[in-house]
Each structure stands twice: as C-alpha cells, then as structure tokens.
C-alpha cells in the first residue's frame, strides 16, 4: 500500500533524524567510524594471486594522446580487463576464466563479448546449465536494465530446454520493477519458446498482475500477446466477447486509465468489429449532451471516432473533439485540433 509506505517513510524520517544528525556530527569529529558496508567487497587484484602467476596481462592501448570518452577506470577494472584480454587472446576456457568473466560483468555488464566468451567457457567446461542460471538470478537483479544479460539467459534456457523455475525468477524481478521491459519481453519469449499461450496459469497470472495494478500497461500488453498474438492475430468472436467484458470491468474501476481503452480497441480491430460495438458502454463515461458529466477523456475520444463513422453525425464528433481540446485533455490541444481538421477535410471531400 503506497499510503502506508508514505506514512512509514515520513514517521521514520521524523524519528531517525536526530539520531542521523548526531551520527554525522560524530563522523565529522572522527569520534565514530563508519562500519564498512557488508555488500561492499574488497577490490580483487590478480597480480598477487598465485593462480594467475602464469598470465601476463595485456593493458589497454587507448590509441595515443587524444582518446574520446576516456573513462577514469578504477585500478581494479583496468587490471582485470588486462587479464581478460590476455586469456581471450589465448582462447583459454577454464574455471578461473569463469570467475574472471563474473568479475568483469559485475563492473561492466554491457561488455558484449565477455558474455559470449562466458557462454563458450561454460560449454567447453561442461558446466551444468542449471548452475549458470543459479548464478544469473542474483546477477540480473543487480543489473535491471541490461540487454546482454537477457541474451545470455535466452541462450542458456534455450539450450536447457526447460522453463522450470523461470516464472518464480520473473516474479522476483517484477517485484523490483513491475513494468521492466526486459522482463516482460523475456516472459513473452518464454511463452513462445515453450508454447504456453493457452496454459490457463499464464492468463491467470496476467489477470493477477492487472488486478494488482490496473495501470500496468505491460500486463495489458501481455494479455494481448496471449489472447491475440497466440492466435495469429485473429481471435474468434467468443473470445473477443470475453475480452470486451473483461476490459469493461477494468475500465469501470478506473475510467481515466488509457491501457484498457487501448486494449479493447485492439481487440475490436483484431476481431474486425466496428468501434460502435461498444457505443452504449462508451456513453456511460462521456455524452456530448452532458458536457459536464465526463468520466473519461478516452471515452470522449472514442465517441468522436464512433460519431465520425456514422452518417451525418460529424457535428457531434467535432463537439467531442472540442471538449477534449478545451476542457478534458488540453495537453494535446493541437492534436485534437488536427483531428477536427481531418473531419472537416473528409466532409469537403464527400
């Protein structure tokens, strides 16, 4: 509950502030020493490590006096990269290299060849793929927005041929950020790879995600992926009906939420049904004869489209667009004016 969080944060700020102030004063006076953070590891160096004594590191040649975007590397990173180049140049695939790739990934997860090199090392050493996934789970949580990590996961899970445990992992990731694009994208890959479109649990889980946050557009999109994408873009009439009813219930909860409005329009289009199919429903939220009783700007927008498709009802469509431009969605006033212009053009042409 966000309200609860707010309250909790506010209370803890009040209660803890004198303590923190005292703490900072004591630090400043060198009376109190901050404890080393638990998760802050000591830097790892290879030059003093017996196990690496046979390797001569290959330092980076930054190409003369004028490198672009040169970074103030830490000594730890520069050194580790030197060892990585040396072993990659020599195509060494070993347990110690596996550790080295992990070390590099923790500092530069976007290093695209280190991931490929790691995958090759795993296959050369015959490391169980489950072990790699077990390592990858906490690593993914540390780098929520990295592309390479997902490419690597695809490779491993594809080779493993099983999606077992993946839904739990996804739930943990979505617990950090319920709209993480990579995670949803990965879920869609899983559904396709293991043909889960019609698995009842998949749709139920999606419904739970929408229930938890009706404005989670990623969850709505996933529903579309299952219902329409799983059927080659052509849902049958019965299915379309079910989806329309489902969406209506969600809109009644929060009429100004654009996600379900977009969703229902997508369903109508895929099922080749006209927008007027849901005209009565739309009128519950916006009626141009009652311009003060509007519950949703998206309903008003849809109403404009429905009227525009009707014979001799362009005037009402224009009224709806005017209401949007001036009162209910002025942030997009220029767009609504443009839409009105299109209506008028169509009239002239007719």
């Amino acid at each position: 509950m966000p309200v609860f969080h707010l309250l909790r944060d506010w209370l803890s700020a009040i209660i803890l502030s004198p303590y923190r102030m005292l703490q900072s004063v004591l630090y400043r006076l060198n009376i109190l020493r901050p404890l080393p953070a638990e998760n802050k590891k000591m830097p790892k160096f290879y030059q003093d490590d017996e196990a690496w004594a046979d390797i001569e590191p290959l330092p980076q040649d930054d190409g003369g006096m004028h490198p672009l975007a040169a970074i103030a590397y830490t000594e730890e990173y520069s050194e580790a990269m030197g060892y990585l180049r040396a072993v990659m140049a020599n195509s060494e695939f070993s347990q110690r290299v596996l550790g080295l790739t992990e070390h590099i990934i923790s500092m530069n997860p976007a290093h695209y060849t280190v991931w490929l090199y790691r995958a090759k090392t795993i296959s050369e050493l015959g490391i169980p793929l489950q072990d790699e996934i077990a390592w990858l789970n906490p690593t993914a949580l540390k780098h929520l927005k990295n592309y390479q990590i997902w490419h690597h996961r695809h490779t491993i899970i594809d080779a493993l041929g099983s999606s077992e445990g993946e839904t739990d992992f996804i739930n943990t990731m979505l617990g950090q950020d319920s709209k993480n694009y990579h995670v949803w994208s990965y879920r869609q890959w899983l559904v396709k790879r293991f043909v889960l479109f019609d698995k009842p649990e998949e749709l139920e889980w999606t419904a739970d995600m929408i229930e938890a946050d009706v404005r989670n557009n990623s969850a709505w999109n996933h529903r579309y992926y299952l219902v329409v994408g799983g059927r080659g873009g052509k849902p049958n009439e019965e299915l379309a009906k079910r989806e329309i009813e489902y969406t209506k219930a969600a809109i009644r909860k929060a009429p100004q939420n654009q996600s379900p409005w977009n969703y229902v329009l997508g369903i109508l289009r895929a099922a080749q049904l006209p927008k007027s199919t849901i005209k009565d429903f739309v009128l519950e939220f916006a009626d141009i004869n009652k311009p003060d009783d509007v519950y949703s700007s998206h309903a008003l927008d849809l109403l404009a489209d429905i009227y525009a498709e009707e014979e001799n009802n362009k005037g009402n469509a224009e009224k709806a667009l005017d209401l949007l431009a001036t009162k209910y969605d002025p942030i997009r006033a220029n767009y609504w004016k443009y839409r009105k212009g299109l209506l008028q053009q169509a009239q002239v042409a007719a």
């Binding site: 672009l68 975007a69 990659m88 909860k253 942030i331």
Partner: protein, 444 residues
C-alpha cells in the same frame, strides 16, 4: 515557430562547459558500465559541441586530428569498427582470436558519425568491407543484430535499434541507392520494412518484436530506419509507387506519439496519484474511483470552454514525455517521441512551448547538461538528447540538426559533399539526398 515569451533559458555557457569537460577530462568512473559504448559517448560529445556552435573553438587542429585518429584506431583490419579500444588484442591479435574482437553495428554507426562531425572525409574507412559485412548482419526475418560469430550466428537483441544503425550505415556509405552498389549486393530492404510492420502494436506504437509492448525508443529507431531506406508512408503530395512502406496505420501511430505527453513529471506526481499517470491537471484525480472529471475541472478549463480557446493551464506550463503508456516523464523520451513526429512531418500536432519549458525548468541542471527526471544530476545520454530536442525546436543559438542522424545539418552537408559519395550517387541524385530533413524543416 511562435515567439517564446518565457524566462526559461538555455544556459549555453554551462552546457558548453559540461561538454568541454567531457571532451577534455576523464569521465567519472561510474561510466565504466558504459565502457563498451564509448563510441556512443564520443559521438554525443563532439555532436553536442557542434550543436552548441562550439566545436571549432573547442578543438585545436592537432586535437581534431588526434580524435579522428583515435576513431580510426577502432577500425578493424577486416572492416567495421569496435566501439572501444577494450577488445583490441593489439600485438596478440591472431586469426584465431579475432572472433572475440568483432566489428560491431553500434560501434560502426557511431564511429562513422563521429568522423563526419569532426570533418573527416571517411577516406580511410573500409567502406566496401563494411557494406559486405552489413549484409551478414541481417537476420532471415529482416531485422539486424549487433555482432556475428564464426558460425554466422547473429548476436544481440532482435529489435529496431540495430535496424536503425544498420540502415544509417548504409545511408551514410551509399545514400538511398537501392540494389547492388559498386558490386556489393544490397540489404533486403523489403524484408526489413516487413519486419518493422510486424512490430506495430495494437495501440499504435512500435515494439521490440511482434506483439511486444510499444516503446518510444523502438518507435523512434524504426521510423528513422524507414526514413534512411526511404520507405516512410507517402505524403499526399508524393506519387504512389509499388514499394513496401512502413507503418500500416499512421493515424494510430500519431495518436500513440502524442499520448506520450504527460504532466507526471517526477516520482512525487506519481505518488500523489498512487503511482498512476497524470494525463493533465484535470484527469489525474479519478484514477482510483469512478468520478466525474468535471468535479475536478479547473477554472481555466471553464474559461477555455466559454471562449473556445485552448489557453495553457497553469498546471500545464510544463509538459513532459514518457516512453510507454502510464509511465513518468523522462528527458530522453522527448527525443524518442519527437524525432519520429518530425521525420513524419507532424511536429505541429504537439505544443512545443510547455515541452521546452519542462526541459529548461525541470531537467536542465545547474552545472550544465540535463538529467533524466526533475532534479536528477546530468549524464551524457540525457544531456545530449535534451539538447537535440531543443535544437529540433529551433532554439535560438543552437545549430539546426538532423533528427534521425543526431548530427547538425552542417555536418550532414559535409558528408553529402564528399566527392566519393557524390560520385557514387551521381550528380543528379544530389538534390534528393536531403529530402527528409528539408521537408520537415517547413513544419517548424
């Protein structure tokens, strides 16, 4: 463009200072996670200074040459560029280990552009080799990847980012010529366009792959790519042809792009509405319950209704852009959503003033550059894209830019003037090359 009456100002000297510092001193170590994207940061640095009109002043001839040589240092003997010196094995390079130091699509794209901005003639670029390699980077279904391995397997995500960069590389090296060029076959343009169409979503945007969620970044990359291969939807003044064109539903795409405008500018705005999007001052309150929007309407809206005007509401002084439905505004999405609007010639369906004001008042940082959201410290990525948007708006004092290439039109003209390129394209085609940007300039 209407005159802007506002105290919001672009702090030129701070932005110049910010970018000069990025050019001349080491970037802080937290950029290490971007070490493999250094060529991207290189382009941002030189192009930002060019947009600010400071590039010539910032560089001595020796430095300019030094930077050009650094970029060429990232060119691989077999053609194409690595995006950083980090994967170079130097004296230890062999045929056996070159698969771990492969040419890279983003590395090549950003290297070529950086050279263009620095005024190089691309004379040392292994152009033919790049074009041969580019064909190998296209997947059977039409999209492009990041690198290709010894077995011909194409690595990297399967989304429009690499398609954008691959088609840009093709445009830089051979313009909009279709078919074989200089004995090198062309990429499969029709298949690429079909691939883009497959990623159009039910709500009108473009996603990573068929039926995935629409996203501003992928939408922008796809539209720019279509412009590079000259396959955008035809405008009413263009003659119909038989080419496969992108975007099956332009009106829906336009609606999706304008719907990315939001008044949810920071996490606090999101908090006020329990994490929901604030579309406008009037529509933010009803998210949790079934209430009349009219109950919350401002006096400004009522005045608007009476006068039938669309005077900006006080609350709408600042308008941001998000990247997906129901998300918070973010500086970079102003670029990702406005670039396609400009390339399609529809910049006038949004109001630029509150967007400009949002960038200048909310995400511009006091030390120069732009942050991601209100109050964030600047980073090179958001700083560059924020500056691009203001240049696209025609901000006085900034050089005009090409929205798709992210370089100034000055730099683009330099590329178009190169003799090898003119020769390749033939004199008569010279006028056609700048078509897209010329068309969209009128809309500003």
């Amino acid at each position: 463009m209407a005159t802007i009456v506002s105290e919001s100002e672009l702090n030129y000297s701070r932005h110049i200072k910010y970018w000069r510092r990025n050019l001349k001193t080491l970037l802080p170590h937290f950029y290490t996670s971007n070490d493999s994207n250094r060529m991207l940061l290189a382009l941002f640095t030189v192009s930002a200074l060019d947009i600010l009109g400071d590039l010539d002043a910032a560089l001595s001839p020796e430095e300019r040459q030094g930077y050009i040589d650094w970029v060429y240092g990232c060119q691989l003997p077999s053609g194409g560029f690595r995006p950083w010196p980090g994967s170079d094995f130097g004296r230890l390079s062999t045929d056996g280990n070159k698969i771990w130091d492969p040419p890279h699509v983003p590395g090549t794209f950003f290297a070529l552009l950086t050279l263009v901005v620095l005024g190089d003639d691309l004379g040392r670029v292994k152009r033919r080799e790049i074009l041969v390699w580019l064909i190998r980077m296209q997947r059977p279904e039409g999209g492009f990847g990041e690198t290709v391995d010894e077995d011909g397997f194409i690595h990297g995500g399967n989304d429009s980012r690499f398609g954008y960069m691959a088609t840009a590389i093709r445009w830089i090296l051979r313009g909009d010529l279709e078919g074989p060029c200089d004995g090198v076959p062309d990429i499969d343009v029709d298949k690429f366009v079909t691939c883009v169409r497959g990623a159009e979503t039910y709500d009108g945007g473009i996603s990573e792959a068929p039926y995935h969620e629409a996203h501003g970044g992928f939408t922008s990359c796809a539209i720019a790519a279509l412009s590079f291969v000259d396959r955008l939807p035809l405008t009413s003044s263009q003659k119909p042809d038989s080419a496969v064109r992108g975007i099956t539903d332009l009106p829906l795409l336009l609606k999706w792009l304008v719907s990315r405008q939001t008044a949810t500018l920071d996490a606090d705005d999101g908090l006020d509405t329990l994490g929901d999007e604030t579309d406008t001052s009037e529509t933010c309150h009803d998210a949790h319950s079934f209430v009349k929007l009219g109950s919350f309407v401002s006096t400004q809206a009522d005045t608007n209704m009476m006068k039938e005007t669309t005077h900006a509401h006080f609350e709408l002084q600042w308008v941001g852009f998000n990247g997906r439905c129901n998300k918070v505004a973010d500086t970079c999405y102003a670029y990702w959503n406005l670039a396609p609007l400009q390339l399609l010639g529809y910049m006038d369906i949004i109001d630029q003033r509150p967007v400009r004001k949002w960038l200048l008042d909310k995400t511009q940082h006091i030390v120069g550059g732009f942050g991601k959201v209100t109050g964030d410290p600047p980073d090179m990525y958001h700083s560059f894209l924020g500056l691009m948007v203001l240049a696209m708006f025609g901000e006085p004092g900034l050089q005009d830019v090409d929205a798709a290439l992210c370089i100034t039109n000055r730099a683009k003209k330099h590329l178009e003037s190169l003799s090898w390129r003119r020769q390749l394209l033939g004199q008569s085609r010279d006028q056609r090359v700048g078509l897209v940007s010329d068309k969209t300039q009128i809309d500003l």
